[in-house]
Subunit: 322 residues, 2 copies
Amino acid sequence: MWRGVIDEYRERLPIEEGVQAVTLGEGNTPLVEAPRVADQIGFGGRLLLKYEGLNPTASFKDRGMTVAISVAAASGCEAVICASTGNTSASGAAYAARAGMKAIVIIPEGRIALGKLSQALAHGATVVSIDGNFDQAMKVVTELTRRCNVVVVNSINPYRIQGQKTAAFEICDVLGAGVVTSRPRMMGFQAAGADPIVRGRVIENPETVATAIRIGNPASWKTAEAARDQSGGIIESVTDEEILVAYSMLASGEGVFVEPASAASLAGLRKVCDAGGIEDTATVVCTLTGHGLKDPATATHESPEPISARADAAEIIRLLKL
Amino acid sequence: MWRGVIDEYRERLPIEEGVQAVTLGEGNTPLVEAPRVADQIGFGGRLLLKYEGLNPTASFKDRGMTVAISVAAASGCEAVICASTGNTSASGAAYAARAGMKAIVIIPEGRIALGKLSQALAHGATVVSIDGNFDQAMKVVTELTRRCNVVVVNSINPYRIQGQKTAAFEICDVLGAGVVTSRPRMMGFQAAGADPIVRGRVIENPETVATAIRIGNPASWKTAEAARDQSGGIIESVTDEEILVAYSMLASGEGVFVEPASAASLAGLRKVCDAGGIEDTATVVCTLTGHGLKDPATATHESPEPISARADAAEIIRLLKL
């Protein structure tokens, strides 16, 4: 049985031997072949989808969180804290509960639909709504981390990114590559309204339908650029419209339901294919970061309304041309 | 890599050799140790949780749907149909999309929040809202199945239950039991407002917070009774209140977020333990059928409101007693 990413890849993670893994069985997510979508975007190679929405809290964040929380728990810390309204708070609260630790989530007042917090609330996190914006919430988090025995689990926690790299290990393992001898090309795509790396400057008020990547000043900015440069990759932007087209392709073309942010990878691949930027001999993996159930409203909004009919088979046969 | 339940267990499924699996990598879900919850309910044995919410469409239904849709696709059928507002329509629509088939979902008019259909809609299902109740929707489905080249994927489809049994195979495999020589005791728990097997009669208007098991006349009634009788098991009811207590225990005690129906198994175990009906040497597996994200409203409803505070660390330290 799969033991979670720490015990599967412990020798490649900065975790001391005695540290016990706080795990919910994260990782080991499906790598799904996507021939129909490949056709649709005019890509002649092999396209695979790494479906990270099937992690315990329905996003890739669990890979990093298991490492961050395990280390925090081993250090004797009793509480973790983050400023987040989405996937980070969901994952942080779940793993804190698993470890028997408290979780504190700081959110900006009045801007958050309670539904977005359903996971953090369910996992028993203490949610504090402050009279300030996200930057101020982050400042409060930083100060609390300095003054109290709490560990921050936002992306600035260095163990997060260490755990997240295990998705790449799994992809190589499943493709039969193990330890690879050539470097895969890393391509990153930001939403056009939240694309600081593409523009080379902080975006003060990022806006995009892809809420999980609505970030104006990413914590791993420099390392993302380094990954791009060292691998001959690119970091470009895709519009919300392109993201939503890819989002629908995945759900209705392959049966893979993701949150909009996840579709940025396919939207980007489509753009690169259109520009002739990729060989038909290539194997491409699109990482799909979160499950579509994270954002049911977008699915409903992007779909046609139900058809109304009498409770009569003949009428329905006629209406649907069956 | 895990190949989905058909190719992992093909020799134990009624699937002909030539039938290609329509799969999204379902199955292979975590079996999570739950020592904290075991303590909380006073169970001294080993408690494990089979976390079926980590299937592709976030419920156990995918196990049966991969079999039903694979067989339908191999037969040359071009559309599947169901009457469902929840997990069945989500799973049916996803696997139909994966197979390149049409999916039709018949729902009773005016009783369904559109959010509950977000998955079916995202996967491109045609949703027809009829002026009638659920029974009439099911009648329309049956008639359409008779008159057109469509396959029903409600529970009356016999391939569904065949696929669903693979959860038991996985549990035995992971516990190192393989093909078991003794029969596990099967315990089933229905919600008190939707407990036809417990009462021995159809429930006309079933009611429970656990919407996924709000069923008054289950398709597998007789086989459920047979499983109970042949294994020395029980089928009892648990109240909505008991379900919600178990629901919170799982999320805040172990970090495992489920939809309310899933918590019926733990609520039942707790009741059995209270009555002294289980030995402390036992290994018990609770099947958790669906992910908590299927029903975010219940999580929000069952949790305290966020605390309001100024954007000031000192105030928050005082408020939270950090």
